[in-house]
């Protein structure tokens, strides 16, 4: 190999010596560089002189260079960069400490491309080592070391947006966390790339508020260059000049994905447990109040039968047993419904259209609807379908419609308005009637409870709304109610 008449240095990675014919390369001999070609690594003379080795020194293998000459804090990163450059052609830029003459470490910036050099004609790969011009003194070096260690160990990156120069800066750790290359230049114009869609607006608001003086401290999802979403804790504060004007925003963000994910999954688990516990309570309640009331009636009958003096008396009591068994059946069916919510919540969701479900419900209770001269007005133009368990949607519509008819106003025919829309990026279904309404202050807390009825109504059972609420919640939605006595009731389901 010939380098503009300079002496050739061969350092072998493999034991076999490979002699290569190399075209002349227009590189200034004062530049430190390493040429990589066919598994061989060649050090330029300038670089060798920096590290105090002579051309004849053949012990400088790649391993020796990485493990001995590069400072141990930088060697791992360099090894990664080096191999991704060799294998995948990924360029990089890295600053590092290299052991030089007299056992002193000096700081170099290693880059894979040098703008002023035309390398188009070569098949070799080069790494350039430029000495840092600004000499960082020992104290700063020491501080820098601790800062780097802290940043690395806490996975915290820092950034600065300079309003005056209209530029953004990220530190090494920030780039690493966000999986951007060492020489990546961030820009506020690319901010949409750094956040998942649903978080970007919030991030923008936080930045805007910070730029007018309000610091922030929040947990937000970010997006790496490889489109991986992860949670960070982000803090930002305005930077002021001597005139007390805001000239930028400085901040840090810390990768908290592991803890946040744990927190979220814990929250989810706790929600599931809470709702299952609630159902269990309801179950216990039905068993305690309703099943027991039937069985206690049965026991009472048996006692009366034993005390009965005539056969007629006994026969009369027999007829009560019939009543009890039929109520007992109803209660057991209700119990079964409560349990079924639990098991079918795990069924697969599929796309369901609101209008289709409504038609099914209308057909199944057509008689009741026409008997009470009920008008049902529906508008699903904004959202016409959702992913849901079809049977649930029908059950929800059925319960709320029959509820509206059951509690219609005595002076007017029922009119039920059903509509869907989007609120906070969630689908909402709203059902409003013109019925007798309900005093929410008095009964609101019990409205969705099991076997709670509030009106003098013969067919009030107190199971419909309970089931509806449980179905909605089993699929992570919630149900709200608004009402005015004598006027209307609105049920709002957020899916």
């Amino acid at each position: 190999m010939l380098c503009l008449g300079h002496k050739r240095i061969n350092i072998h990675l493999s034991s076999t010596m490979v002699q290569v014919k190399v075209p002349p390369i227009p590189i200034d001999s004062n530049i430190g560089y390493v040429e990589l070609k066919n598994n061989d690594i060649y050090f330029s003379k300038a670089l060798l002189s920096h590290i105090g080795k002579s051309a004849k020194n053949k012990q400088i293998t790649l391993d020796y260079f990485i493990n001995t000459l590069i400072h141990k804090d930088d060697s791992n990163q360099f090894r990664n960069n080096y191999y991704s450059y060799i294998k995948n052609n990924l360029p990089f830029r890295q600053s590092m400490l290299i052991l030089c003459k007299k056992g002193k470490y000096k700081e170099f910036v290693c880059t894979t491309n040098q703008n002023n050099i035309n390398l188009n004609n070569t098949t070799s790969k080069f790494l350039f080592f430029n000495k840092r011009k600004l000499k960082t003194n020992k104290r700063i070096n020491k501080h820098k070391f601790y800062y780097k260690e802290t940043a690395e160990m806490t996975s915290a990156g820092s950034w600065y947006v300079d309003f005056v120069k209209r530029r953004s800066f990220w530190d090494q750790q920030a780039r690493r966390i966000l999986e951007y290359p060492e020489d990546y230049k961030p820009s506020i114009n690319n901010a949409a790339l750094y956040y998942p869609k649903e978080e970007f607006q919030r991030a923008r608001r936080l930045f805007y508020k910070c730029s007018i003086g309000k610091p922030f401290d929040t947990e937000i999802k970010m997006l790496t260059k490889n489109n991986r979403e992860f949670w960070v804790r982000a803090k930002g504060k305005p930077v002021f000049n001597d005139q007390k004007e805001i000239i930028g925003i400085r901040g840090v963000f810390q990768d908290i994905d592991v803890t946040k994910s744990k927190e979220l999954s814990l929250q989810r688990t706790s929600n599931i447990i809470a709702s299952q516990n609630k159902r269990l309570f309801n179950f216990a309640y039905i068993v305690s109040h309703n099943l027991r009331s039937h069985t206690s009636n049965l026991s009472l009958i048996v006692e009366l039968m034993n005390a009965a003096k005539s056969n007629e008396e006994k026969l009369e009591l027999m007829s009560s047993i019939e009543d009890i068994t039929s109520s007992l059946n109803d209660t057991i069916e209700h119990l079964n419904e409560v349990v079924t919510i639990q098991t079918s919540a795990n069924e697969n969701r599929s796309p369901v259209t609101f209008s289709e479900s409504l038609e099914h419900v209308k057909t199944s209770i057509g008689q009741i609807i026409s008997k009470h001269r009920t008008t049902i007005l529906s508008d699903f133009s904004e959202v016409d379908a959702i992913d849901y368990i079809p049977a649930y949607l029908e059950s929800i519509l059925l319960n709320l419609i029959t509820n509206a008819i059951k509690y219609k106003h005595p002076q007017r025919d029922p009119i039920i308005k059903i509509g869907s829309y989007v609120e906070n990026s969630r689908t909402v279904l709203e059902i409003t009637d013109n019925g007798i309404g309900i005093d929410l202050e008095k009964f609101g807390g019990k409205l969705f409870g099991m076997y709670n009825t509030f009106h003098y109504n013969k067919d009030a059972v107190g199971i419909g709304l309970f089931i509806t609420k449980n179905q909605v919640e089993a699929l992570n939605g919630h149900i709200d109610v608004f009402s005015e006595v004598e006027k209307f009731t609105t049920f709002k389901i957020t899916f």
Binding site: S293, L300, I301, E303, S320, S327
Partner: protein, 137 residues
């Protein structure tokens, strides 16, 4: 003992079957002269409030058996409202809770209230009923 009967008993319960059975026991065992029945707390409270306007001692029960779980106004709310007005009747009215609930929370809550004489768990026994009616006679 048999020569003195409870004049008037009051049952507040929404379970028709239970009411029929209790009625039958009261009739066959001749536990009281008269019986009034309400289907929930609200109905009975309305009755007692009307009584206060026009005190008629024949219409004030000596004994009330109340269920806890009822529509519109449950047993708890009735007990709370009734406790406020019961001293104005100038007559001892004994209040028993008769419920199918075996929930310790319900039982403890009932026992902690002074206005409640006792908590009976359904099914009530015939001799249990005899005992409490005789105690009020």
């Amino acid at each position: 003992m048999k020569n003195k009967l409870v004049e008037l008993a009051c049952i507040i319960d929404d379970d028709d079957i239970y009411i029929n059975l209790i009625k039958r026991i009261i009739e066959t065992k001749k536990l009281c002269e008269n019986l009034i029945v309400f289907k929930n707390g609200k109905q009975s409270l309305d009755y007692f409030e009307a009584l206060l306007q026009n005190l008629d001692y024949d219409k004030i029960p000596d004994i009330i058996l109340i269920d806890l779980n009822m529509p519109i106004m449950d047993g708890w709310e009735f007990i709370e409202q009734f406790t406020k007005i019961k001293n104005r009747f100038n007559k001892a009215i004994t209040l028993y809770v008769v419920s199918s609930s075996i929930n310790p929370v319900d039982i403890d809550r009932a026992k902690s209230l002074n206005s409640i004489k006792d908590y009976l768990v359904k099914p009530v026994k015939i001799d249990q009923l005899e005992t409490i009616f005789n105690a009020s006679a």
